[in-house]
Amino acid sequence: MSSPCRRAVSLLLFAAFALAACDREDREPRGAPVGESGPGATVQGTLYAGEPTPPDPRRQEYEGNAYHISQGKQLYVWFNCGTCHANGGGDIGPPLMDDVWIYGDSLENIFATIVQGRPNGMPSFRNKIPETQIWEIAAYVRSMSGQTPTAASPGRNDSLNAKPAEQRTPKAEPKNSNPGGPGVEGRQ
């Protein structure tokens, strides 16, 4: 590789790192614009007619953003997600740190599950949690099974040591979802 080329590549690499860092560390407390409702892209199941719907543009701000994920973690506790799903191991609700996604593993699917509720006991939080915060919780839920970059995933909490922190949870490849796509059938 010639020297200018190398320089260009290293510059590009640096820029990529830089941009990634900017995204990951951005702290925009207001979140994505409100007013629109729900992600349009969720599909229950693995089948869709024609081409799949593109992902929701708002995911950019939350997916892999350390601040939003950490906020999501706090909200996960505050809004009693943890009293049903424990620290990811599950309790009344299914575990969230494993590789099984009943209603889909994408950010949009998790968003939809929180908003709509699910028939076997997941309550609907529609109108109860502002959408920006639901995005944050959804982003955190993905980090629980290592779906987010470790540099953005949360470390341990200042509380009882329940499990290795999200950033140390090995990525559990979703077993029953389309890669990057919406989730599949329920377990029950």
Binding site: P29, R30, V34, Q74, K128, P130, Q133
Partner: protein
């Protein structure tokens, strides 16, 4: 010790500082409590002594630099006459200087210890216990009582009867904060995993502002609280009113407001006793309309400020945990009507 002279000195230095030093709702030098008074006295004492020392040093410096000297060619370096008597004289002064410094230091230390002991002794006379839990970025305030259902919670305000020492139990739930009401007393940290304690007493009626004094993140700047000192009878009446559950909404708009409150994001974080809202993420709103300020001392309480706060909290306190809830204008109005009725 009501030292006017050092104050005047301070004013010369501080230009505009004088007036607000003597009258401030958040001034350590406008004491309204026993401890703050003793500390202010101590501070004026220190200031007087140390200002004198400083003046002495400055004078010495001026003299040393500009004192008249023999004219003539300046000898260079070691050729400079280092007369032994001068050296000896200077050494003697040095010894005197060291002794003097030590004496001053010892005196000041002694006064400091005395005031410290005096401040601590107040703890034995506390009649009332208030438990404060600091959270990012507000103060949860709990009035303890041996009878459990005579304890109650409020937020970002402490009312206390004039002249009654109040024991304040200090806890933190997330990060370190520091409880500081300068007019009443110095600060004490609230540290996760520890329980600290302080005592405050107000010697006169008034409203005093306190503020978090340990950096605690995004909204450290807007984490304040009001301490309101009132006569005993007024305090007792306030206490009784705080014990009551929230008043039921009477008019249609307020009723609608309550419905909106209980069915929207509000209910996820707040408590209004007497309703199903009992979450403890955010401040207890049971008697919000009686509080002097909103959003942890960020805004004075008024219906308009409340509207602004609910409509866009992230503009007023960026990064605060209160989200933009996206209520419609009608919903907002009815919630306002409801909350403003929570006296």
């Amino acid at each position: 010790m009501r030292a006017r002279a050092p104050m005047a000195l301070l004013c010369i230095g501080g230009l505009a500082g004088c007036e607000r030093v003597r009258h401030g709702v958040q001034s350590a030098l406008d004491p309204a409590g026993h401890q703050a008074g003793r500390i202010a006295d101590l501070w004026w004492l220190f200031l007087a002594v140390l200002a004198a020392v400083y003046a002495l040093v400055l004078i010495l410096l001026l003299v040393a630099a500009f004192r008249p000297r023999r004219r003539g060619r300046v000898p260079v370096g070691s050729a400079f006459p280092q007369e032994a008597p001068t050296e000896r004289r200077l050494t003697r002064v040095l010894v005197a200087w060291a002794v003097g410094t030590t004496a001053i230091i010892l005196t000041l230390t002694g006064f400091s210890y005395a005031v410290d002991r005096d401040i601590l002794s107040l703890g034995h006379r506390a009649e009332l216990t208030v438990e404060i839990t600091a959270k990012q970025w507000w103060w949860q305030v709990k009035y303890d009582d041996p009878v459990p259902n005579r304890s109650f919670e409020t937020a970002n305000e402490i009312r206390l009867p004039v002249g009654v020492p109040v024991r304040v139990i200090l806890k933190a739930q997330d990060v370190i904060h520091s409880f500081w009401v300068p007019n009443l007393h110095g600060k004490t940290d609230l540290i996760p995993g520890r329980v600290n304690e302080t005592v405050i007493v107000a010697n006169r009626e008034g409203r005093f502002r306190g503020q978090c004094a340990e950096f605690c993140g995004f909204q450290h700047a807007n984490m304040a609280l009001d301490v309101v000192a009132v006569p005993r009878a007024e305090f007792d009446a306030w206490r009784e009113s705080q014990l009551a559950p929230a008043v039921a909404p009477s008019d249609e708009q307020s009723q609608e407001g309550q419905r909106v409150f209980l069915t929207s994001a509000c209910v996820m974080c707040h408590t209004i006793r007497g309703t199903t809202a009992a979450s403890r993420v955010g401040p207890d709103l049971t008697h919000i309309a009686t509080r002097p300020s909103l959003a942890a001392g960020t805004l004075p309480y008024s219906k308009g400020n409340l509207a602004g706060w609910i409509a866009d909290p992230q503009r007023i306190k960026p990064g605060s945990q209160m989200p933009v809830t996206g209520l419609s204008a009608d919903q907002l109005q009815s919630v306002l009507a409801y909350l403003d009725g929570l006296k």
